[in-house]
């Protein structure tokens, strides 16, 4: 009978409850979307940060103190301190975790093209799209790290030597030379536009430094703490080498994450308050409407505890229904926000459903405070029609 009465109460006041339901659904949808974002934000933001390129550099000396890769490259060119390729990359590979998005060694030489100097970077070109995902390319990436016949060139180099994709580039260095086909032209928007990128073996052969590299760049995902822990492990296993995070990136990541979390938490609290106020307004009006019913129920022997339980259950149904519908809409909203903000969809987290529904039931019950007034209803007064 309890459920039957609650159902009839809901149906009997569906117009007014509908208004409160819309408020609860709206609140639940936004909260669910925000919580989905909150829980997924770390992954999404670290993915975003990986677009900024390498965030960890291994070098022989303190030359790697500088944050950005190109600064490190310049320093290496000024005072090259070579590292043993197999020793360093062996440790990197041994300690590799799923957080490591990409890793590539670098060796720089200043070669000549037709008498003009040009910086040539030897690396693993199959890692370049992952290590530098923001680079634009005209032509094709080079999928193999052992292909010694092709190279990528910066757009300024292409302009200087008037070379298009498919063209040939002849590099010379200390009496040695290499003939490379240009697979693509990169537009990095930085110093890389002035460089030539070839696979490491080709540059090592050109430079006469087989088995040696100048630095290793890594792109590692995760929080500042996780990246810090990985850095420490790597540094411990590579004594004599500098393993340094690029601080601007990691600190910005931590700070942005904290601020985003605070913003989302504040918005959730604000929405809960607004939803409660909306429910409160509806329930205040409903409490007035229900005075006559409550007076009658009391007159025929209804204990106030049982009567209030009916109304609270009605409000609970309102909160649960609104919460459930809102959660479903929230998933769609989170996906939309994920696409708009991060360019990828947010994966729905089902554990947010019970959390949001519980929040909405709590908010609806808090908003039902005016129903407390029903306890004061005097049946004799109501039955007199006052």
């Amino acid at each position: 009978m309890f459920a039957r009465l609650v159902w009839k109460l809901v149906r009997g006041s569906r117009g007014r409850l509908g208004v409160a339901l819309v408020a609860v659904i709206s609140g639940a949808a936004v909260i669910s979307a925000l919580l989905n974002l909150q829980f997924d934000i770390e992954r999404k933001l670290t993915q975003e940060f990986r677009l900024l390129g390498a965030n960890l550099v291994i070098s022989r000396s303190s030359a790697a103190q500088t944050g950005v890769a190109n600064q490190a490259a310049s320093d290496a060119l000024a005072s090259p301190t070579l590292m043993d390729q197999s020793a360093v990359l062996g440790q990197v590979e041994r300690l590799r975790t799923p957080d490591v998005v990409a890793a590539a060694p670098y060796l720089y030489v200043v070669a000549r093209v037709g008498g003009a100097p040009v910086v040539v970077a030897g690396t693993w070109l199959d890692q370049t799209p992952k290590l530098d995902p923001t680079w634009k390319l005209e032509g094709n990436w080079i999928a193999s790290r052992v292909d010694e016949t092709q190279c990528l060139i910066g757009r300024n180099v292409a302009r200087q030597f008037q070379i298009a994709p498919g063209g040939q580039l002849e590099l010379s260095y200390l009496g040695r030379s290499a003939q490379l086909r240009v697979a693509g032209i990169i537009d990095a928007g930085g110093a890389e536009d002035n460089q030539v990128f070839a696979n490491l073996p080709a540059v090592q052969t050109l430079a006469g430094t087989q088995g040696e590299i100048e630095l290793v760049q890594l792109s590692v995902s995760g929080t500042s703490a996780r990246i810090g822990a990985y850095t420490s492990r790597l540094a411990t296993s590579l004594p004599g080498y500098d393993v340094r995070p690029i601080r601007q990136v990691t600190q910005a990541e931590g700070s942005l994450l904290d601020r985003t979390r605070l913003l989302i938490a504040s918005m959730v609290v604000l929405i809960l308050l607004l939803t409660a106020l909306s429910v409160l307004a509806t329930m205040a009006a409903l409490a007035l409407e229900r005075r006559k019913d409550v007076g009658l129920m009391k007159a025929i022997g209804g204990p106030i505890s049982r009567i209030v339980a009916l109304f609270l259950a009605e409000v609970g149904v309102l909160g649960a229904t609104g919460g459930l519908i809102g959660c479903i809409l929230g998933v769609a909203l989170a996906r939309w926000m994920g696409q708009r903000v991060f360019g990828t969809s947010i994966a729905p987290r089902w554990d947010i459903f019970p959390l949001t529904i519980a929040l909405m039931v709590g908010v609806a019950l808090a908003g039902a405070l005016p129903l407390r007034l029903l306890g004061r209803v005097k049946p004799a007064v109501i039955l007199r029609g006052e």
Binding site: M1, G12, G301, P303, P379, L383
Partner: protein, 221 residues
């Protein structure tokens, strides 16, 4: 016969207005009492005190051995549920519950619901084919019959009816009065407030109130 109702020097004051002023009478089990008098004479106040909807300022109002004046809020609620069956002039049915559910509501507040018994109660007042109708879909007479079924469902010691035919046309009035005659014949104790002398004549005794006092008591010839 044992007295179901014993009223002793009952007084009720609202602010400085004396609604009941030393009323004393008793009602035997199975009696039908008509309480009459002009507006403001204290009829409804008397019914409300006997039904536990209001408390007296002083005096005793004992119903089936329970002094209403001594009960707290929870005790009054239990008293209304267990001992009293109300029939109001305005019917007072819950508008979004069907006839059956209105009757079952009284069961629910009393103890547990028994749909079969509720259906039988509605059948008894001639509404077997209207049990799933909402009050708004019923005529005034039908609504009052639902109210009678609701009043009877918990087997009360006392039926209190406040102008039960005041809002009904002649045909429906006759139907409802026939029901009360049947209830009386079955031994129910009834206290009915009415303005109509013709209805008052149906009762075993007629108690007239004036200015909160017992004006006269007439026994049916």
């Amino acid at each position: 016969m044992a007295a179901v109702v014993q009223i002793e020097n009952l007084r009720k004051e609202f602010d400085n207005v004396r609604a009941l002023d030393g009323v004393t009478f008793s009602v035997e089990s199975g009696e039908w009492i008509a309480i009459m008098g002009p507006s403001g004479s204290g009829k409804t106040t008397l019914i409300n005190i006997l039904g536990g909807l209001d408390t007296p300022t002083s005096g005793q109002a004992v119903v089936d051995g329970t002094d209403v004046a001594r009960l707290d809020e929870a005790g009054l609620t239990r008293f209304r549920s267990e001992k009293i069956g109300f029939v109001f002039q305005q019917f007072h049915l819950v508008p979004y519950l069907t006839a059956l559910e209105n009757v079952m509501l009284a069961q629910y507040f009393h103890s547990t619901t028994d749909e079969g018994e509720a259906r039988a109660a509605l059948d008894r007042v001639g509404l077997a084919d209207r049990i799933d109708h909402l009050p708004g879909q019923l005529s005034g007479g039908e609504q009052q019959r639902v109210a009678v079924a609701r009043a009877l469902i918990n087997h009360p010691k006392l039926i209190l009816a406040d102008e039960p035919t005041g809002n009904l046309d002649e045909a429906n009035e006759e139907i409802v009065l026939r029901l009360f005659r049947e209830l009386h014949a079955e031994g129910h104790t009834i206290l009915m407030v009415t303005h109509a002398p013709s209805i008052g004549q149906l009762a075993d005794r007629r108690i007239d109130l004036a200015h909160g006092r017992l004006a006269q008591v007439k026994v049916r010839a």
